[in-house]
Structures are given as C-alpha cells and as structure tokens.
C-alpha cells in the first residue's frame, strides 16, 4: 500500500520534526516539514500532500491566509487541511471563523493517536 503524504506547516521546527518522526514510525505515512509559512503553498504544490497540518499563528504569515490562497489554487483547492493550534479558546477560534471556514482543528499538545484519527477521517 502506498504511503499517505502529509505536510506539516509549523514554525516550531522541533514540534514539526517530532510529528514527522512519530507519524513515519507507523510506516503508513510520508511526512514533509515546512517551517516557513510563506513557503507553504510552493512546498505543497511540489510535494502534493494528501493532507496538510497547518499551524495558525506563525511569524511571517497566518495559517488562515494560507488556506485562503489554497482555495484559489487549482492544485490545492481540494487538499484537506487540519489546523493545529495552541489557541484553543472558543472565542479565538470563532473570531477566525470567516477564514478557517469550518476547517477542523486540533489543540496542542496533541497525541499521535489524535493526528492519525484526523488523517484517516479527512483524507478522502
């Protein structure tokens, strides 16, 4: 069976690397890490992931903006995105409602088990 391709976009490099290690450890996923928000679109177009884990608060660009750009990109508009965020208050998530448009999110800290559940749930 072919490995599913997962892109992790997060400026916290060590977190992204740990996620990569844990997911690849299962033998079922191929994971790429991108720590620069601005490079996310380009990397995604090249890597063609089956699902993207996307951080919301990054220093150079907001996760919401990236999703917005993906919507108008032929290659990426159907790629499922799961937000990974340390901002877990309802209020803060709701305030971004227009931007993240019903995309699912996971609160940090997150277990590998949760990541796998979401991958299996959202990859069509």
């Amino acid at each position: 069976m072919e490995k599913k391709k997962i892109l992790v976009v997060d400026d916290e490099e060590s977190f992204a690397q740990m996620v990569k290690l844990n997911l690849e450890e299962t033998g079922k996923y191929e994971v790429m890490v991108e720590t620069k928000g601005k490079e996310a679109i380009l990397t995604a177009k090249r890597f063609k992931p089956d699902l993207i884990f996307l951080d919301i608060v990054m220093p150079d660009v907001d996760g919401g903006e990236i999703v917005q750009k993906m919507k108008s990109d032929e290659d990426l508009k159907d790629t499922p995105v799961v937000f990974l965020t340390a901002l877990v208050t309802e209020k803060e998530v709701k305030s971004q409602e227009g931007v993240i448009a019903g995309r699912p999110f996971l609160a940090k800290p997150v277990t590998t088990q949760q990541l796998i559940e979401y991958i299996e749930k959202y990859i069509r």
């Binding site: 340390a86 940090k108 590998t112």
Partner: protein
Amino acid sequence: MEGEKVKVFLVEDDFSVFSLVKEMLAKLRGYSLEVDGAPSLNESIEKLQSKKVDVILLDLNLPDSKGEDTFLKLYQKFPQLPVVVLTGFDDEELAVKVVRQGAQDYLVKSRVDAYLMMKAISYAIERKRIEEALRKARDELELRVKERTAELVRVNEYLKQEIEERKRKEEELRITYIKLKEAQQQLIQSAKMEAVGVLAGGVAHEVKNPLAIILQGIEYLSKKIETDNENIKSTLKYMKEAVIRADTIVKGLLDFSRISKLDIAKYNINSLIENCLLLMKHQLDRHHIRVIKELGEDTPELNVDKSKIEQVFINIFMNAVHAMPEGGELIVRSYVKSLTEDTLPFQVEGKEKFNLGEKVVVVEIEDTGSGIPQELLDKVFDPFFTTKRAKGGTGLGLSIVRNIMEMHNGRIDIRNRNEGGVIVSLLFKRGGGQYGEKEDTSS
C-alpha cells in the same frame, strides 16, 4: 434670755399646782415672764393656735388625755415649741420616755423650786432654738445636696447621651470601614482577575507549544525504546502525566480568561442541582457522603447559562467531597428570600444592583468537613490559591466559580459553620445573567 419677756404656757388641770407654779415663776428676779395656760389638752391646743409662746410646761395627766399620748398629741401639732414635762414623784420612768420622744426636759412636781424650773425653762428654749437652727441648717444642706444631685444627674444624663452618640458614630465608622475594606477587596480582586486574564492568553500559547513538543517526544521515545526496564517505562509514563497535568492548568487558565459570554436560557435552579448531584453520585457514594436536599418548591425559573452554573455546583460539590474524605453530610438547600438591610450584598461595580426588599433565590451548600482555617478564608477566591496543589489542584476552581456568579449578577460567599464544615451561599437575582446576552447582540 435676760431682759426679754419669756412667754410660758402651762398645761395643768390641778389649779393648786397651776397657782404654785405661777407664783414660783413670778418670784424670780431678773426675769421677765408672762405665764398663761389651760386645764385641758384640747383647750391648750386651741389657745396655742393663736398664741405665740416660748415654752410649754406640760402635765401628762389631764382630764382629756393621759400619759405619753398627751405629749405626742401636742408635739404633733406644735413640733417647733419646746416642752418641759411636769410629772409626779412616782412617774419618772414615763417622763424619761417622753424626753426620748422629743420633750426637752422633765420636772418632778414635788421637788421643783423656782430656780430649777427657770433653769429647765431657759435650757429648754435654748436647746429647742439650737435644734431648730440645726434642723434648718440640715434642711438647707439637704436642699443643696438635692440640687447638686439633680445637677449631677443632669450632667450624667448628658454624658450618657454623649457616650451613646459616640458609640453610634463609632459603629457608623466601623460599618463604613468594613464597606470600604470590602470595596478595596473587590477592586483588588478585579485587578487580579484582569491581570490573570491578560496573562492567561499569552502564557497558554507560549506554554502549549513546548508541551506539544515534549508530548510528541515522549511518544516517540516510548515506541523506540523497546525495553523491559520498569524504571524507563515509569519515567516515560510520569513524563507524559506531567505534560497532561501542565496542559490541564493551562486549559484552566484559558477557561478563566475566556469567560466573557453566557449562553442564557430559563432553568429551574433545583433541576440543575439535581443534575449535578446525579453526576456526582458515584463520588458521593464512594466517600460515604449522605446528601440532604431541602429544595424550595417555590423557586422561580432563572436566566442562567446551564453549563456554567453546573460548573459552579460541580466545583462546590467536589470541594465538599475533598473536605470529607471519611464521609459526612452534604446539605443542599434552595429558597427565595427578600433582601434586608443585614443581608443586602456588597454591590459590584458594573453589575446590576441588589435592592432592599428585592426577592432573590438563595442556594446554600453545607458540608460537615474540617472547614477552612480563618486566615485562608480571604484567599479562597484568589486565582492560583490552592491547598490541594500536591493532588493536582490548579487554584482556579473557585476563581472561575466566582467569575461565573458575578457574570450572572449573582454573588458567592463562603463561611465556616459554627458546628464545623463550610457553608457556601449563592445568591441569584431573579433576572439572572443578562450580561452575556447583551454582549452577544452587540457583537
């Protein structure tokens, strides 16, 4: 007395004695005497009422009065007149008795001569005069004492009023002080809340990222290190538990900072209490805690955020369970009452006011545990204050509870019971929380 005319009045029914005395007195040289008299008591009294005399010579045995009585009747009428009693030879005992009752002197008829009589008369007059002067002085003194006493009583009364007034002022001052202190506490509390709220958001983000990394790292190591070494296994397990605990605290902080709106609907407070007791049933049973419900049947429906108010009850019930590890009683009471001067709660700035006579819904939750040491009572609502740190307490429970109550325009108060344990009183305005609704419509 010399040179002056001394008026003597002789009360004597025996005419021979009467004449004898008169004669005797007339013979005295150097004295000017005027002698008058009467043969009976009644006649004497009548005469004396219109006549001014200096001394009375009195025979006790008269046709209309005998013995002691004769003197007493006369003395009663004319207490200011000196009386010298004339008595028979065998009646000295009676004479002495009468002298004790106020007569000036006595003379035994058969043994008296003019000189003796005159001496008795003048002494009697003189003694009486001194007595009178003394009496007058005493009366004056008494009057002055009375006046002075009256003045003292007045001053005393005035001082008493002054003291009362001061006590009243002191009491007013004390109440003002308490109110000020409460206001200050309230301000400090809000300032703390605000600071914590601001801090919470920032800290949460900064802490959650490293926690996420550590958790991922632990999971990776757990998989990679294939070992039967129990120490390695338990180390990894403890690390994971620690991360989860830290995350719980951060979540509590976020809860705390994000309570800003309520999801209001009408609920009967009793049914919310019942729900929570049901949720707690296992915990209560396990700790052998008996629940006593005294839920008022007339409590009206309140505007509340169901999950927030349930969070309040659960939190308080959990505290009660922790306070009674060896079992006990949990008493839950609800009722409606009118606010009086004594029960009017402190007004919180920016919240709806409580008014005198207003009907409020009260929920009281009592436990029979160990109570809270007095010096810690003030701190129980402080964020991060906990006595259960070792058991994973974050110290945010009651701060959040208080925030929720204030958002509902309600109040919470915690006191020790006299008989041990704690009583938590919750006060709900009948309108309940409107704050969140307003915020919702404005956003």
